[in-house]
Amino acid sequence: MRRIAGGEREALRQLYQATSAKLFGVCLRILVDRDEAEDVLQDVYLTIWRRADRYDAGRASVIAWTSAIARNRAIDRLRARGPLAMAEPVEDLELADDAPGAEALLEQAGEHGRLLACLDTLDARTRQVIRTAFFEGVTYEALAQRTATPLGTVKSWIRRGLARLKGCLEA
């Protein structure tokens, strides 16, 4: 990251090689549209190029920091489609699968395992809406519509869930 902040293109290329498939996956999961995901991914690496000096290794790993940028950009693009974009996923009307996949199970060590363990302390419904929000980048409104639940209820599930999550992670 220091080399990228110093303007070394080769360092950015190496970061791209190491992280682009993961970050493209993150963008594609939120946007579904491949063209848009490609567009956003370009923007993500330009953002990394310009903001590398703000990276703080003490706060987040490189993959965590870059994937947060990718999510943020992809959600910006999703919002540009309109407030209820993705209120109804094309495939089905269910919430995101609550069970982590095989790849995830292999990676459960470390930070991810700790986060999953804390998510597991939440009730299933709260865990599901938080996971759906994370993976699909949808709004409170869209979550309320999908779960056929009043907006205020969904907000309070998520706020209380996040508060408990923080408590668990800090315990």
Partner: protein, 238 residues
């Protein structure tokens, strides 16, 4: 720690922004606050860091090989002028993505190989809309661009020519109320410019979706799709 533990209103906002559940205008406000309120920015960054490990569950997908050269070409020289960097950052966040969108539209127009008048005309004053209609395999099967100035929709089928000769691909616009309206047929592999007469033109708006259904060769016998939906995509401003 305890069940009664609550986030302060400001931290709740930071957490919601990091999770990504805010609407577009709320996000813009939160970003502006991050720029002017370092304490809030730290809260957001902390929440991003807390949630980020979940990304480990997202399947990696290789981006196309052409993407890196394109990123490399668009890199400006890094420098230490914080003000310049900020300016560039904002410019790239807007103009940069516009440029890419315009480039992809140019590709659509090129691909269409339609009469050259389309390519030669000056850029329209009203924003163009475009849509990539994705099929089941998350691959675009049709691309469309709508010019609100001329009320023309350009549609290109990326389906191989001659595919599925027993059926037709019918294009629909799905308006915000969920109703579909037929726009006509699109031949596999072909491009088509469709004038949008008055009842249709207002439907060509952000938030409408374009959809292609598989129908009998003569088209759907009903005023709505009767066959399976092959591809769908939202109209978005570029």
């Amino acid at each position: 720690m305890s069940q009664g533990h609550e986030l302060s209103p400001i931290e709740a906002l930071a957490a919601e922004h990091a999770l990504g559940v805010l609407t577009g205008p709320e996000r813009a406000q939160a970003e502006a606050r991050m720029a002017s309120d370092p304490a809030f920015a730290v809260l957001v960054e902390d929440w991003r860091a807390r949630l980020a490990p979940l990304a480990a569950e997202v399947a990696s997908v290789e981006p196309p090989a052409r993407l890196w050269p394109s990123i490399e070409r668009s890199l400006p020289a890094n420098d230490n002028g914080a003000v310049l960097r900020r300016l560039r950052f904002w410019r790239s966040a807007t103009v940069g993505s516009l440029g890419v969108a315009a480039a992809s539209l140019a590709a659509v127009v090129f691909l269409a190989a339609q009469p050259p008048r389309i390519v030669e005309r000056a850029a329209p004053a009203a924003p163009m809309l475009n849509a990539s209609l994705m099929g089941g395999a998350a691959q675009p099967m049709f691309v469309a661009a709508y010019d609100p100035m001329r009320k023309m929709l350009l549609v290109t089928s990326l389906v191989p020519p001659g595919a599925d000769p027993g059926h037709a691909h019918q294009l629909w616009v799905v308006t915000a109320d969920g109703r579909s309206h037929s726009l006509g047929m699109v031949q596999p592999g072909a491009s088509k410019v469709m004038p949008m007469p008055e009842p249709m033109a207002p439907m060509m708006a952000e938030g409408s979706a374009l959809m292609v259904s598989v129908e009998p060769p003569s088209g759907s016998p009903m005023p709505h799709p009767t066959g399976p939906v092959a591809a769908k995509g939202m109209l978005t401003r570029i």
